[in-house]
């Protein structure tokens, strides 16, 4: 059932992890961490909220927004009951999450590890949906959607994505809408699991007090079979233009929230990881704690310490976001654009580049001490065709010229969109 185990060791951080691809196509990743009591396991599929159409066996299937997240909820249930009740007998703490490009099922446990692995693998590998259980979940997820509707940060992120993308499904809320999830049926859910919840599209990753042999044994107990036919994801072409350069709306918040997003051209899979690291560094170089822009806006009372930039990237999208609360969104926007223009013109200071590199390297090293981070990052990297240590090595080899060159091609005002959330006027009682 098994092929040769790969052992990956990084001298720089004295860390080892192992990789094994089974004959059924499932990839196993294991990081035994001496001295740790617990195990964190992640069973992930390369199927997330942006996957909205696919072909399998010659048939094209279109999916409503939110179906990956809906599946995440439903995979905790089978004919025998719910997974939480079974996990309770092991003491494990279980959860799951759905992102744009993946869905992961996780547990943390300090005992009964084989039993917890059996529950994880069996529930996620053997879906069970009925009309009644789907209908009940539509109500629960409807409430989850409403909870996020009250979050200014969440609404800002999707308002920005909707402002820069015409068609890319990354613009839709991960949980979908009350209307879109109403379209979900058991049959549609089975079509998704047949296509994407198959060993060749999945990763089992674990870190802590565990060995690869234990993972292999757990998979063997389940007898997982490869998919009968591979599924191919379908993407809609995305124009280069910006559909909505400016948008504002109101919410029950105390002061305005400002956001700006920049739409970039996605890079090839081979370049993606290096590009992500550089883009992350650019956000830090533009508005990180030690930048002149941050200091100026902070001292003028225009931003607080939550103002930050981040990067979103996937197979067919790449974008920057900068957002935070401010009393003067127009001024912050103008100052941010001026700073980007200044860095393009004058160049990034060598000292700032080295500081950023150190800062990001320190964070990457620190992430290797948490069983949750290690197992989750290993799974995420594998799904993107990378290894756990790639960020460290990219950082160690990165040059100022690499970063400057990327900056010159990106963060253009004409490819940006701005969103402002203004406080709603409270009605007079």
């Amino acid at each position: 059932m098994t092929q040769t185990k790969q052992i990956l060791h990084n001298e720089r951080v004295d860390f080892t992890c192992e990789k094994l691809v089974l004959e059924n196509g499932l990839t196993l990743l294991c990081a035994p961490m001496p001295g740790y009591a617990g195990v964190h396991a992640v069973y992930g599929t390369n199927f997330g909220s942006v996957d909205r159409a696919f072909t399998q066996n010659g048939k094209t299937v279109k999916l409503p927004a939110g179906i990956a997240h809906f599946l995440e909820h439903k995979m905790f249930e089978n004919e025998e009951g719910d997974a939480f009740s079974l996990y309770a007998a092991t003491g494990a703490s279980a959860n799951a999450f759905t992102g744009f490009d993946r869905t992961c099922y996780v547990f943390t446990a300090t005992q009964h590890i084989p039993e917890a692995l059996d529950i994880l693998l069996s529930f996620v590998s053997r879906p069970y949906f009925t009309k009644d259980t789907v209908q009940k979940e539509q109500g629960i997820i409807g409430q989850e959607i409403k909870m996020y509707d009250d979050s200014a940060d969440w609404r800002m992120m999707f308002a920005l994505l909707q402002s820069i993308y015409h068609n890319n499904p990354v613009r839709d809320d991960i949980a979908g809408t009350v209307e879109s999830i109403a379209e979900i049926t058991p049959e549609l859910l089975y079509e998704c699991t047949d296509a994407f919840y198959t060993p060749g599209n999945m990763v089992l990753s674990a870190a802590g007090n565990i060995t690869m042999e234990e993972l292999v044994a757990a998979v063997e107990r389940q007898g997982l079979r490869p998919a009968a036919a591979p599924a191919e994801k379908l993407r809609e072409p995305e124009p280069e233009s910006i559909p909505r350069p400016y948008h504002e709306f109101t919410m029950a918040v105390a002061q305005p929230t400002f956001g700006i997003a920049f739409k970039e051209r996605p890079v090839s899979p081979a370049e993606r990881f290096r590009c992500d690291v550089i883009c992350d560094m650019l956000t830090e170089l533009i508005c990180g704690d030690f930048t002149p822009l941050f200091r100026r806006l902070y001292d003028e009372g225009l931003i607080n310490s939550n103002f930050a930039g981040e990067v979103g990237s996937g197979d067919d999208y790449l974008c920057f976001f900068f957002s935070g609360e401010t009393s003067d969104p127009e001024k912050v926007r103008s100052e941010l654009l001026c700073e980007i223009a200044r860095l393009k013109k004058e160049g990034i200071a060598k000292e700032d580049f080295l500081l950023c590199r150190n800062l990001m390297y320190g964070e990457a090293v620190g992430d290797l001490e948490s069983i949750e981070n290690v197992a989750t990052t290993m799974a995420g990297c594998e799904m993107r065709g990378e290894t756990l240590f790639e960020q460290l090595e990219v950082l160690a080899s990165l040059t100022l010229e690499d970063v400057q060159q990327t900056l010159e091609q990106m963060l253009c005002e004409e490819r940006s969109a701005t969103v402002v959330i203004r406080p709603a006027q409270k009605s007079k009682g």
């Binding site: 740790y36 200014a152 105390a254």
Partner: protein, 424 residues
Amino acid sequence: MQRKQLADGVMLTDIPAERFKTGRITLNFILPSQRSTATAAALLPLVLERSCAAWPDMTEFSKVLAKLYGASLSAESAVYGNRRVISVSISGIKDCYALDGEALSQEYARVLFEVAFRPHFTDGVFDEEALEIEKQKLREALENEINEKRTYCIRQAKRRFFSDSPNGVEKNGYLDEVDGITAQQLTAFYHEMIRSAVIEIMVIGADAAQVGESIAVQLSQVERAPSLPEAPSAMPRTAPLVIKEPMDTVQGKLCLLFTTDAIFNEADEAKLRLATAIYGSLPTSRLFMNVREKQSLCYYCVAGYAPMSGMFMVDSGIEHQNAEKAKDAILAELETLCKVPVPETELEEAKLALCSAMTGVGDSLNGLENWYFGGILKGRIRTPEEAKARIQQISAADIQEMLSHLSLSVAYFLTKEEPTHDAN
């Protein structure tokens, strides 16, 4: 774990943590939580974290931390019952992982002590310009509390629950006092903290001997008179207060606050901890399985317990039209647990979940620090193993008994904002 008294009112807790890639040092200044100094206590960490005498410019100081591979320096103010804890902490990667062989640990300790003991003063008081900037940040943070509806609902409920009790002193201070705080007042508060606070130092995966020597040098220059705050107390039972606050929200919120009417001893606290898990903090709890899953009355519904103030809480995200039903269902689950003994399997599974989490305490710096500092605050330091042994002794009757102590004091609803009509 080793505890060592360095001086009167100064203790050092050394937790070796070889397995981690980072180390952490935290200085905790423990004071009585007073209404009169609450706003200064909330403001002080903002000013300390910004800069210090060695690096008075905020940007230059940020560069120092970035150079130390992004060492994380934080100053925070927290309230635990009637105690205020102002902490200054630094964590960063160990020396062996530095790209150029720098001696990082020594630098971490130096930065930490500079921040805590040599603030950026101008003419003997906190720098006016920096203070004014940080006052604005605090003001905005207080004004922005409505942005997070869940937290806002809990805070509003606590305000009614604690009223004027010392346990209810606001962690983030008071909006109407921010403008009036002067550099002199804040400096006086800082000096008083250094003089009178009980200092608890936590060293996790770092050189405790070096930290001990440094603190001895710092404190030798100060006349200290440390005193422990009074023992914590719980709120008395009262008739339940029901408050409905309208707000422009999509999802409603409900926070129920109960008093235990007493600060529990170690044995009773362990029992209530297990009872809380069964009632509402595990994914198999009664609130999750019955109120959310079976009755679909909420999206989240979670119970928690604050041992330093005897406050028990259930907070929930609800549909506006189901608000009353959700409240009734939450209370009905509590009543059932008080009347009907928990089945043996449910009891044992809850014990397993709690004990499993306790076994994992040592798997993170945060876990270790929170566990042992929590024990220090309560005056009873136990290992996870000792706590697990106590959990194992709890019976179904203990669960009934402990939950019967709970008395509902406040039900706070964030409701939908109804359209208003002019009455004229």
